[in-house]
Structures are given as structure tokens and as C-alpha cells.
Symmetry: C2
Subunit: 271 residues, 2 copies
DNA sequence: GAGGGCAAGTGGTCTGACCAGTTGACCATC
DNA sequence: GATGGTCAACTGGTCAGACCACTTGCCCTC
């Protein structure tokens, strides 16, 4: 019996989601004025306080510009919104995945990861290398030994991949921690939150990368020895693997996706 | 006559700022429970709606966890907050600058910038190179020709630097646009917002980088010719210049700043 | 000791009112 | 014609008080 907690969204959250989807989806163009708060209250059938909470959040996200006495106008999220908008961009309400956004996330990951590994090797405090090694050992235990050497073969089960994905997140969290860079830290959180709506798709897509335990170990060793160049190179190679996998998946859907508006891949296409 | 619009902060904004400062500053530890909404209402002397709007925003920022019927608890922003938190981390309410955060921003900039330039050269649409070249021409006009070749000499006035900084932002905005990567786009916005509280300090600190018009031109040319490697290399060299300047500035304050809690440099020390 | 029930306290929603600022039309003045 | 003042009708901002929905923990029953 597999149960999961029922999702309970407050009214203001629902209003926020609806308006955000309208803005990000293009239903409300930049510069356009939103209906007055009292109009929204009536149109949505909710309290004005709920509307205001949602609008305040939209303002914080950089999606609208509120002016006392004047109208509330939509801003251009491409120039005003921050990285926290990623989750809203990656998937639509239907569960569709935007390939262009997925590719973007992979590219950013592949860019920052190696630099974080480099800095981690430079600055990491002593016990860090051991912690990383311990995580790699755990990854090794999840897989039979043969699996990490035979590439391409789907030797890992669904549960194994999920376990590996969890360990992988913790691995990179340690690397980021050791890099001692707050911006990377926060960007890492944003990327993780941005990938969250993918659910089980991510481990499946990154299977080759997750199963590459030796590469993880190389990074851990390089960090232990303070070898920045080796850590960076190993990380670059490892993350490139996942990026390539994603690109390959997306290519199967649409070889050259236009930037905006993006062609969307249904979830089932990624399975 | 130099006038600027008077800053008018709403009550809920003030509440938000106050609570955010408490959380980020460590006055409210992670896991700790906030006072009840009605208590805050009384303690802050404001309406409950204002408190709720602030709490909703704190929740969105990943700073608190709200549970219906239970207490509102502080989360660990280092693992929960996104990149949009940068501005709050960079400067305290007193206007002090956190050197560790400044360094982090510079490092992230120096990491993403070159990759964006690379992708821009790969994917940039045709007129982009010309737009970049036009911006570089504008930068050239701001400075006397000699200035861009003589390094280190403070030949640029305050106004010239401000103009260069503006052109530089627009330059990179075009590069990011050409890179066709939403994540970079949003991270760029976050970094710009994060640097905003620095005000005039940034152009001063990055003077050497801003005055390096030839490097900007090299990037523009590489993008025009689709030479990804050249664009990346030129961008790396250019951005490293600014990073080095910041590190040098911070070194004058504190050569080895501990990660947390950070030693702070007063604004005047950076002048 | 285990389980259920109750009460207090929490966040969530609603209503209605008033304050504060913007906008635009209109008008008097220069 | 340009300028500035006045006013009404919007807009968002704040407030008060009530009630609903949920969690928590104490207390009683078994």
C-alpha cells in the first residue's frame, strides 16, 4: 500500500500559481495591466487578502510591478525574474517538460559543477575528502561491481537509480559546501528546486552519470589531495555525461527546439 | 539639481525586511519557531494582514516553513534559499558589505560568463555580433584612446566609469541573450540584483575590467565569427581581471576571511 | 500503558470599512 | 496656449474583528 500525503494548497497559493502560469505562459504580456485587486477578488471568487498575498509574491518574484494608486503591471520575466523562477519554467501545469529549459539547467550544472569541484579541492577542510569517499562507497554498495564498468546496459533497477540519485545529490552538496561559495550554494538550491518537478525522470535520464562511481571517486580523491585541476577535470567529464544524455533525449523529441516559445515534450516521451 | 524618487516602503515590506534580516543574520536560528502571527501583529504594531504578506514572502524565499495549525519555523537558508537571496546576504542593513559574498558573486560571474560567451558564439543569431560591436564602439567613445592601453592609471572619471558600467551590463546582457540559456539568463538577473546594493562601488572596483575595451572587442569579434573557443578564452581573461581586483580589495581588509560568520568590510574601506 | 476525546492555540479565510496615492477631466488663472 | 488648482473616480495599502480548519498536548477513560 503506497500512500503519499495529500497536497493541500492554500487559496493564495492557487491564485499565485494561476497568475504566474498566465505570465510565464504569455497569457499576460509584459507591460499589460492586471485587473484591479477587487476585480480579481470577484473573478476568482476569493478574498482580497488572498489576492494581495499572491500579488506580493508575484512582485517578489519579479513578475509584476505594483504601484500604489496605479495599476499592477506585468514585467518581462526574462529580464526581471531571478533563478528561483526555474521550476515554473521547466514544467507546465499539465506536467509537460520544456526541453530548452531542461537543456539550460544541464548546461549550468555542467558549468558550475567543475568550478565548485576545483574550489572544493582548493579550500575544502580536512574531513571533507573522507565524507565524499564515504558517499562514494555507499554508491558502490548500491550497485553490483560489474554495473559500474559496463556502460549503457540497463543493469540498475528503478530503486537503485533512486538511491544513487539521492547519494549523488548529497555528494554534490558536500562539494558545494567545500567550495565555500555562497552564490554556488544558493544556485545549487535553485537548480535542485528547478529539477524537482521532473521527479523520477531525472534519475532515469542521468542513469549513465549516476552509475559512474569511479568518476565520483576520482573527484573525491582529487579533493582529498587538494588537486584542483584533477577535481575540475573529473567533474567536467562526469557532468558532461549527463548533459549529453539529456541532449540525446531531447533530440529524439525535437532536434532543434526554437528558444521561445518552446516546443514541449510530454513526460511520457522522456520515459 | 540632482533629485531621486523618495523611497516609500509599505508596512509588509518593513516586516519582511526585519524578519529576513533576523533570519539571515542569525538572530533567529534554523528550526526555531517564530512568534504566532497575532503576537507579531502586536509586537510590530501592525495589522495581521501585513504580517501574513511578509510571512508568505518569507516562505517563498525558502526562509520559513509554515504549517497550518502548527508553528511557523525558521528554515536553514543555506540549504533552502535560492539565488534570489543574494542581495540580502551581500549587504547588511547598515550598508556593510560581506567580503565572502562579494567574492562568491565574482567567482560565479567568472564561471558563467565565459561559458555564456562560448554558447553565444555557437548559437548567436546573425545581427548579434554587430550589436555587440556597436556597444564596444560606444565604450571606446567614452574613453580617450590612450586610457584603454595604459593600465592601472586612474584615467577614467567617475562619470566615465558609470557610463562604462552601464554599457558593460548591456554587453553581457546581449551575450547572455545570444547564449540562449534561460538558466544563465535568470542567474544573470539574480547576480545583477545581488550586485545592486553595491551602488557605485562596483564600477570603482571593476575599473580595470571596464576600461579594457579591446578585450570586449575580442569577444564581440569571436561571437561574430562563431569562434566559440576564442570567445570563451577572451571572456575568461576579462572577467578574471575584475575578480582579481575584488580579491585584492578584500585582501586589504582581511586576507583570509572565515566562511561563516563572515568578517565584514565597511563601505568606506572599499572606496 | 494505550487509546480516545477535548480544549487551547495555531494558521487560513472572510467581510467590510477606511486611508493613501494616481489618474484624468475640468476649470480658473496667467 | 500654458500653467496650475480642484475634484471625482479610480487604484493599491491598512486596519479591525470575526469565524473556519488544523495541530498539539493535556487529560480522562478503558
Amino acid at each position: 500500500m503506497q500512500l503519499q500525503p495529500v497536497a493541500r494548497r492554500s487559496v493564495s497559493d492557487a491564485v499565485f500559481d494561476q497568475l504566474q502560469a498566465q505570465i510565464v505562459g504569455g497569457g499576460l504580456a509584459a507591460g499589460e495591466a492586471l485587473p484591479a485587486e477587487r476585480s480579481l477578488t470577484e473573478a476568482l471568487g476569493v478574498n482580497r487578502q488572498a489576492v494581495r498575498e499572491a500579488l506580493k509574491r508575484l512582485h517578489q518574484a519579479g513578475l509584476v510591478e505594483i504601484s500604489h494608486g496605479g495599476a499592477t503591471r506585468v514585467r518581462d520575466w526574462r529580464t526581471a525574474a531571478g533563478l528561483d523562477l526555474l521550476p515554473a519554467l521547466l514544467t507546465t501545469a499539465d506536467g509537460d517538460v520544456d526541453p530548452a529549459v531542461a537543456r539550460s539547467i544541464m548546461e549550468m550544472r555542467a558549468c558550475i559543477g567543475p568550478d565548485a569541484a576545483r574550489l572544493c579541492a582548493l579550500r575544502g577542510v580536512t574531513p571533507l575528502g573522507l565524507d565524499l569517499a564515504a558517499l562514494v562507497d555507499e554508491m558502490q554498495e548500491v550497485l553490483p561491481v560489474a554495473a559500474s564498468t559496463r556502460r549503457g546496459a540497463p543493469t540498475a533497477t528503478h530503486e537503485q537509480l533512486a538511491a544513487l540519485a539521492d547519494l549523488d545529490w548529497r555528494f554534490w552538496e558536500l562539494v558545494i559546501e567545500g567550495a565555500d561559495n555562497v552564490a554556488y550554494r544558493l544556485a545549487f538550491n535553485s537548480l535542485r528546486a528547478g529539477s524537482e518537478p521532473l521527479g523520477e525522470l531525472l534519475p532515469l535520464a542521468l542513469a549513465d552519470e549516476l552509475r559512474d562511481v569511479p568518476a565520483h571517486r576520482t573527484i573525491a580523491d582529487a579533493v582529498s589531495e587538494g588537486d584542483a585541476a584533477a577535481a575540475e577535470a573529473a567533474a567536467r567529464g562526469l557532468l558532461a555525461k549527463g548533459s549529453a544524455a539529456i541532449v540525446a533525449l531531447l533530440a529524439g523529441v525535437d532536434p532543434k527546439a526554437p528558444p521561445f516559445p518552446p516546443v514541449r515534450a510530454r513526460r511520457k516521451d522522456l520515459r
